[in-house]
């Protein structure tokens, strides 16, 4: 989007938090000419961030089913941004499948979204030969993509370096005086954003070189919905649970059972996979699970990206830059008074 001629060069911004939101915001501001520093409390990139455990699906239309039209709108913008900013973005669409007995789930999913083609057994086999003969019905979302979140975060950090953005690791959030502060700290901002809550997610990283899936596959199930995202080199990310909890240190046995059985139901070969990693993170969400740009305690906060971090970060970064540099207002993602949205 062409920007009005704004002198961003004299603006000094401290971005706090080097998850996907902070990195995207820092890059957007730097690209517009602002003087940016990025502060991260963890000793290295994203180690303390839930971005590290993300699925990396860029699926605005699949997410619309549960997230609503705003997520689809911001996500479509984000998808285009990733294609321009990260060469590893793969545009092979998303496949949504259901077993024969779960037809109702598929119908309900289809009713609440758009931009898909209905696929039967033959089309599924053509898209993903490994799944040939295993599923007779599904939805194919050809306009969606995916990426490896860890590679994408590293690529953003590299781009920041190219633009002379200083990234300081292992430092507390203590920006210097005279700087504009943009906070992208997720759940750590709860003292300032009191209606923020944690939603725990659990994921597995499996290695199964003999299986070749080329795009994210979502398996609908009334109780245990699951997705598998190929990471290349025979690696698959299997996720992800959603638990109302802000303690995210360990996976529960039940979650692990559910994730593994669902992967096995997608393809029995997963029974032979090596478990490379078990990850847990806590997503930050507002009560309506929609993201916000909110001013609090002298800073502009970008938060509440919930389970849509990679999908939404670019669109929110663009809006945050517009707010900071041009004084614009985006009512659909901005609310100044948390009291308005209290539930009582």
């Amino acid at each position: 989007m062409p920007q009005a001629a704004v002198r961003a060069e004299g603006v000094h911004v401290s971005v706090i938090g080097a998850g996907v939101a902070g990195l995207s915001c820092a890059l957007e501001l730097a690209e517009r000419g602002a003087q940016v520093e990025l502060l991260e409390r963890a000793p290295q990139l994203a180690a303390a961030s839930c971005s590290w455990f993300a699925g990396g699906m860029l699926a605005p239309w699949c997410e619309r089913e549960n997230g609503g039209p705003l997520i689809a709108e911001l996500g479509t913008e984000g998808l285009a941004w990733w294609c321009r900013h990260f060469a590893g973005t793969v545009m092979r669409g998303t496949l949504v499948l259901a077993h024969a007995r779960d037809t109702a789930e598929l119908e309900q999913f289809a009713r609440r979204t758009a931009h898909y083609e209905r696929v039967r057994a033959e089309a599924i086999a053509a898209l993903e030969p490994e799944l040939s003969g295993r599923f007779s019905q599904g939805l194919y979302f050809p306009e969606e993509g995916h990426l490896d979140p860890r590679a994408a975060l590293a690529a953003l950090a590299t781009r920041l370096g190219e633009r002379q953005v200083v990234v300081r690791y292992g430092v507390p959030a203590a920006p210097r005086a005279g700087r504009v502060v943009l906070e992208c700290t997720g759940l750590a901002a709860r003292a300032q954003l009191q209606d923020l809550r944690g939603v725990k997610g659990e994921m597995l990283l499996l290695r199964l070189p003999e299986l070749n899936l080329t795009r994210p596959v979502r398996l609908l199930h009334p109780r245990v919905p699951l997705y598998v995202v190929p990471r290349g080199a025979g690696l698959y990310m299997v996720g992800a649970t959603m638990i109302e909890s802000d303690e995210g240190t360990r996976i529960s046995a039940r979650s692990m059972l559910e994730l593994l059985s669902a992967a096995y139901a997608l393809h029995p070969a997963f029974g032979e996979a090596e478990v490379i990693e078990i990850g847990t993170g806590v997503r930050a969400a507002f009560p309506d699970n929609l993201p916000r740009l909110r001013r609090a305690a002298g800073a502009l906060h970008v938060n509440g990206l919930y389970r849509h971090g990679f999908l939404l970060a670019p669109a929110l970064a663009r809006r945050a830059a517009d707010v900071l540099l041009q004084g614009r207002h985006y009512p659909e993602v901005m609310d100044e008074d948390p009291g308005e949205r209290r539930l009582a």
């Binding site: 638990i243 909890s245 802000d246 303690e247 009560p287 309506d288 699970n289 209290r342």
Partner: protein, 257 residues
């Protein structure tokens, strides 16, 4: 007015709190349903000091009574332990008791249910047992100390409505004084209206509202259906007949041929 143990409520619609698009939608749905009782599933791992507090405080702020449940428990011991934890976390002796016996249908293990109910009633819990329409099981649950029953309409989340009308009517007829709450399996408001028309005292819903395209609107629709069903019950429905009964008297009409 409906009396559940020592508590009197006005609303005949109770809501589950799972699977909503967001806590905000849940809150709006509870308001639209004018529900006074909301069930909350206590997942064990969320029972720590801080974990899950944000979600529970959102529920508390709704000003409703929390009915903790033992959803997902498969054994008596598990259900009893979960009930103990729920009493600590929520500060209530109410417990919706679920002991699941079969994974595909999530149908109650009625033997375990009676065992667990006996234990919990003896410990002073006020038990809301999720059961089938089986009369003998109902008898045992009441003997164990339960002051009300929650028979299923159909398997949890199936949206099929009242599957066994004969059995449910028999249950209502056998226990005219016991509060009976249809729990699980309803899909659309007409199912709820039917439950109230049959004389059931209330319904408990989750999936039918939480997974609807617009949960808040669906909650309001269920509230209206329940109001209609209750009014119809109190108004005294006619009995179905095999023969047509003309609503306009025909004797004396001219030109009958």
């Amino acid at each position: 007015m409906l009396r559940l143990y020592q508590t009197t409520v006005h609303s005949r619609l109770m809501l589950g709190s799972a699977r909503y698009p967001s806590p905000q939608v849940l809150a709006d749905a509870v308001k639209a349903a004018r529900a006074e009782i909301v069930t909350v599933s206590l997942r064990r791992e969320s029972a720590g000091e801080r974990a899950g507090q944000a979600f529970w405080s959102l529920i508390r702020e709704l000003g409703v009574r929390v009915l903790p449940n033992t959803a997902g428990c498969h054994s008596v011991k598990e259900a009893v332990t979960t009930a103990h934890m729920a009493r600590e976390v929520f500060g209530t002796t109410w417990i919706k008791l679920e002991v699941i016996g079969e994974d595909d249908t999530l149908q109650p293990d009625v033997f375990g249910l009676v065992d667990a109910a006996r234990t919990l009633c003896a410990e002073g819990f006020e038990v809301f047992p999720y059961t089938t329409e089986d009369l003998v099981v109902a008898e045992r649950l009441l003997a164990a100390g339960c002051g009300l029953l929650m028979p299923w309409g159909a398997p949890i989340g199936s949206g099929r409505g009242l599957n066994n009308l004969f059995g449910l009517k028999a249950l209502r007829a056998h226990f005219p004084e016991v509060p009976l709450i249809i729990d699980a399996g309803l899909g659309v408001p007409s199912h709820a209206a039917q439950a109230l028309e049959l004389g059931f005292d209330a319904v408990l819903l989750n999936t039918a509202i939480a997974q609807a395209g617009d949960p808040v609107r669906m909650a309001a629709a269920f509230a209206q259906a329940i109001e209609a069903g209750l009014a119809a019950r109190q108004a005294g429905p006619i009995e179905p007949r095999d023969l047509a009964v003309p609503s306009t008297p025909v004797i004396g009409t001219a030109f009958r041929g």
